[in-house]
């Protein structure tokens, strides 16, 4: 068993009067891929966004409970959110490349964290693009607009952008849902490769994908974490009837 990286303790999220999550407890290990599955609106994305405190952007959202990153509580009054989000990067469903060049997209993160030296920035950009398996395809047009890349390339660019900030945890919110099968499989290869250095939590609608790439899987339903165990166990031998129904396609 590897080291504990993240621990969520009785996480509850309220959106105005609506309770989106009920007492979620989950232990996430370092250098592992943890997949969150469940039908739409079950709270899996909401849970993902509690880990970098991104839910706070939506007015009327309240979070109770605690999440520990390396045993440090993240829901503390004096916790530096900027510092937290530097450690916990996030990749969104829609590839959200910024309207600037490929180079500028990757250099954006290091720049806001105070790196100004051009040589160092170029090194970071190259290293991040290489780590995201994108360098070979675009190294000759770093200054062209990022929006001209294909969807799969854009998503890998977003990952490179996250890597450039040198995070420890990477959250992915259905990163492959807008991609074609070939781009998806490249992305999956990349995720498996990235877990050597990073801890990855991924929300996915695609159960085969969860089975292929994850070490642990959590099944969410109606705001509750119904079952959480190793991926093999959850798919082969689910303990809960509802998990079994979901993974065999009987509902959802």
């Amino acid at each position: 068993m590897s080291q504990l990286k993240l621990k969520s303790e009785n996480i509850k999220v309220f959106y105005k009067d609506f309770q989106a999550l009920y007492d979620v407890n989950m232990d996430i290990e370092e250098n592992r891929v943890t997949a969150l599955i469940g039908p739409s609106g079950c709270g899996k994305s909401t849970f993902l966004r509690t880990i970098n405190r991104l839910n706070e952007l939506i007015e009327g959202t309240r979070t109770e409970g605690q999440i520990y990153l390396d045993e440090q509580p993240i829901y503390e009054k004096d916790r530096d959110v900027v510092e937290l989000r530097k450690k916990v990067g996030m990749v969104f469903q829609k590839p959200s490349v910024f309207p600037m060049s490929i180079y500028e997209n990757v250099a954006y993160g290091p720049r806001i964290h105070g790196i100004k030296d051009r040589k160092r920035l170029s090194e970071i950009v190259e290293r991040s693009l290489k780590a995201a398996n994108l360098w070979n395809e675009i190294s000759d047009r770093l200054n062209s607009p990022a929006a001209r890349l294909s969807g799969g390339q854009q998503q890998r660019l977003v990952i490179a952008r996250v890597l450039a900030v040198e995070p420890e945890v990477i959250l992915m919110d259905e990163p492959a849902s807008a991609l074609d099968p070939i781009s998806t499989s490249r992305l999956e290869d990349l995720i498996v490769e990235l877990k050597k250095k990073y801890t990855i939590v991924i929300v996915t609608h695609n159960m085969q994908q969860a089975a292929r790439i994850s070490d642990y899987t959590g099944f969410f339903l109606n705001g509750q974490l119904v079952e959480f165990s190793s991926t093999d166990e959850l798919f082969v031998n689910p303990r809960d009837k509802r998990t079994e129904d979901y993974i065999t396609g009987r509902f959802g």
Binding site: L54, K86, G89, F92, I112
Partner: protein, 316 residues
């Protein structure tokens, strides 16, 4: 369950078919097509009338103005400082400079203020207050220019006269009034373009550990750039074209202003002040002034289009 859906589908298809059979066939198809063509014709006609009006006005302005420009020479018309119709001297250099000076000095303060207000309304104020302020600003755009001019004459001109010297009728008074008048344009268009920046950009930036202000500067403003440039240029267009308020507060001397407290006459003012009694060459010179203004505005519009296209290049 699958079977049920299949049954439902077949039932639906059968139903549609039976309804189709009950219709008197040919007529049903023909009538909507006639209406379609009629509407299409009306739309084409409206477009043609609008375009024709613009073309006719343009032809008229140039037909009346160009002969005079040819008579005295384009260079002389534009660069001659002496505007003295009674002596047959038609140089609009002072007015050209006047228009530019008044417009630019209004932009100098209205652009930063307008963009900052737009950022506040779109990004910082709570959404409800932001949209309330937006509506109020749009209301400001509906106030007739003569009211702004009157306000300038009664409040701003005396203020400048007492506190800064001169007789108050000045570039400064024009710049203040024009700035107020173009603020609504700059604010609403900038605000709209900031609001249409996809939420993913902001979230993506914040998720990288950027602060709100860093995200505004680094991602939101660059993404809204073409809209903001459009806002500035449309504001500039409005400032160059504005007449009534400017005539009322700038003093209207046909000289190149020496300071912001000097009086100044713009091209638009020149037309409105003298059109009542002008005739012959004098009238033609006013039309020629209009033609120069027209070309100014066309160039501004081209710049808007180019900036929008440049923006699209980078956007998704």
């Amino acid at each position: 369950m699958g079977k049920m859906i299949a049954n439902g589908l077949t039932a639906g298809v059968v139903k549609v078919e039976s309804e189709e059979k009950n219709r008197p066939h040919g007529q049903q198809r023909f009538r909507p097509l006639n209406i379609e063509r009629g509407i299409e014709f009306l739309l084409k006609l409206s477009a043609a009338i609008a375009i024709l009006a613009i073309i006719l006005i343009s032809i008229f302005i140039f037909a009346r103005g160009i002969p005079l420009i040819l008579k005295i020479g384009l260079i002389d018309f534009i660069f001659n400082l002496k505007w003295s119709p009674s002596h047959g001297s038609y140089g609009i250099a002072a007015m050209l400079v006047g228009s530019l000076v008044v417009t630019l000095s209004s932009l100098i303060w209205a652009v930063p203020l307008g963009i900052s207000s737009a950022i506040f309304m779109a990004e910082i104020a709570p959404p409800r207050i932001g949209s309330m302020l937006g509506r109020m600003v749009e209301l400001l755009a509906g106030i007739p220019s003569v009211v702004f001019g009157f306000f300038g004459l009664i409040v701003i001109v005396p203020f400048i006269r007492t506190h800064l010297g001169g007789n108050g009728m000045s570039v400064l008074a024009g710049a203040i009034i024009l700035g107020i008048m173009i603020l609504p344009t700059i604010i609403s268009i900038s605000r709209d373009s900031i609001l249409t920046v996809p939420a993913e950009y902001k979230e993506g930036s914040l998720a990288l550990g950027a602060t709100h202000m860093q995200s505004i500067k680094g991602v939101i403003l660059p993404a809204a750039r073409s809209g903001i440039i459009t806002a500035i240029i449309l504001g500039m267009g409005r400032a160059i074209g504005e007449t009534m308020a400017v005539v009322m507060v700038t003093g209207n001397s046909t000289i190149i202003p020496g300071s912001i407290l000097s009086p100044v006459r713009t091209m638009t003012s020149n037309i409105v002040l003298e059109m009542g009694y002008a005739s012959g060459d004098h009238q033609a010179a006013l039309f020629a002034t209009g033609a120069v203004l027209f070309i100014f505005i066309v160039i501004l519009n081209l710049v808007v289009n180019i900036s929008i296209k440049a923006g699209k290049n980078y956007a998704n």
